[in-house]
Symmetry: C2
Subunit: 143 residues, 2 copies
């Protein structure tokens, strides 16, 4: 199956502008062009774009993604490096998950706080002190 840039854009939720921008930045060196000059995406190219999205979505800058492609193009001697790169990225995701969990705790606390405040129609000093005490408990252990 082959796709035009517009079809790929729709499939992945990107704009054609963005995909061309990626190409210009050297992120799509495998994509061939048809007789009229239009890009022709093979299944493999779409898979590759999905990996690009995955790396980008976990915080890797486009420059570094390009470095990975260059490793791919250098053949089997860079296999180990590529493996290391993905292992590093896995750690990156784990770190992000840990951070998100910490943020979630804070947000949950705020939700509980505002839930109480809404119920009382105010978050004046008495309500605030009550919740400050709860936060101290949470941070320093119970009692």
């Amino acid at each position: 199956m082959r796709y035009s840039i517009g079809q790929v854009a729709k499939k992945l939720g990107l704009t054609t502008h963005t995909i061309r921008y990626y190409d210009k930045e050297g992120l799509l060196p495998f994509v061939r062009k048809g007789s009229s000059g239009a890009r022709v995406f093979e299944e493999d190219d779409v898979d590759w774009l999905i990996i690009v999205e995955c790396l980008k979505g976990t915080g890797m800058p486009l420059k570094e993604i390009r470095t990975y492609i260059q490793l791919c193009q250098q053949g089997d001697t860079t296999l180990q490096k590529r493996l290391e790169m993905f292992k590093k990225q896995k750690e990156e995701i784990e770190k992000q998950m840990r951070i998100l969990k910490q943020y979630m705790e804070k947000i949950d606390f705020k939700i509980a706080y505002y839930g109480d405040a809404v119920e009382h129609g105010t978050d004046d000093i008495y309500i605030r002190n009550k919740w400050l005490a709860k936060e101290r408990e949470r941070l320093f252990g119970h009692k």
Copy 2:
């Protein structure tokens, strides 16, 4: 306990430039200034900056964070709105966690793939086909 901008920056892993930038953008309207004009951060102000980091870190633009501050300054009538805002942000975090998990699956797959390739010293067409079959299995169910 009171802190200077430099102490807060160190404590939160930001630069003084960034903190002043946040102030300029209206994100720190509570921070007072001492007789010499230097910002004086109370414990509360530090807590507030931590919430700013939390909202920013879960994808809220600085502009929207400022909107939240403005709600805070408008008093008890905006409590419900503030509660909604945090609930929305909780959903945002949940969404991000789901996306991260999906990315993790892809990365794990790549790690397994490159592990195999490194072991064989190559990722030629035979190795690739073997892994393509595994991916099909993974995507479309077993067998």
